[in-house]
Subunit: 104 residues, 2 copies
């Protein structure tokens, strides 16, 4: 399988307007922006490497905030910058799933 | 590999403000909405089945409008509803890549 991006990461940044749980309420946009900056700083950004994307609602709101890494289809939740750093260092740099943050 | 969504489809719906080519200028949002309606009508929507998502810029603007199907990592462009119907019927229903619309 030839992949345009070796790792394509989608952060749900959806803001629900009905008061229900949503990723945006957990700082998803800021965390996505942080991940994008980190990937660029590490020179991991671009074709053949990584892409950090925003996405609309991925319909796992109650488990949020969520992101998903493809092509593996591994879903994560996160709380803070340290969690994002760990996902980058472990999964995107070394190809190791971070079980601690994984949602099934 | 146990996947939450068997097929997770991301439509770039990004609107660039600098006048450069972008997916939004090609009706990407309306096409994503159409795909979402079709998937629901075919009862293909949900965990274990398909998810149609919007996404921010996936940085293939000049090849747009683009969508990507994961976990395969197959990228497509499209012009009209018939193209979307073909991607749904061939790829999402029968698991066959639509080479005619594929971008490498």
């Amino acid at each position: 399988m030839s992949l345009y991006y070796r790792y394509h990461v989608f952060f749900c940044t959806n803001q629900r307007e009905d008061g229900a749980a949503c990723c945006a309420d957990h700082g998803a946009q800021a965390m996505r922006d942080y991940a994008k900056r980190r990937i660029k700083a590490l020179d991991l950004n671009g074709p053949g490497k990584c892409r950090i994307n925003t996405a609309g609602c991925m319909d796992r709101c109650s488990e949020g905030p969520v992101l998903v890494v493809y092509p593996e289809g591994v879903w994560y939740t996160y709380v803070d910058h340290a969690d994002i750093d760990e996902i980058i260092e472990e999964h995107l740099v070394h190809g190791r799933v971070v079980e601690r943050l994984r949602i099934s």
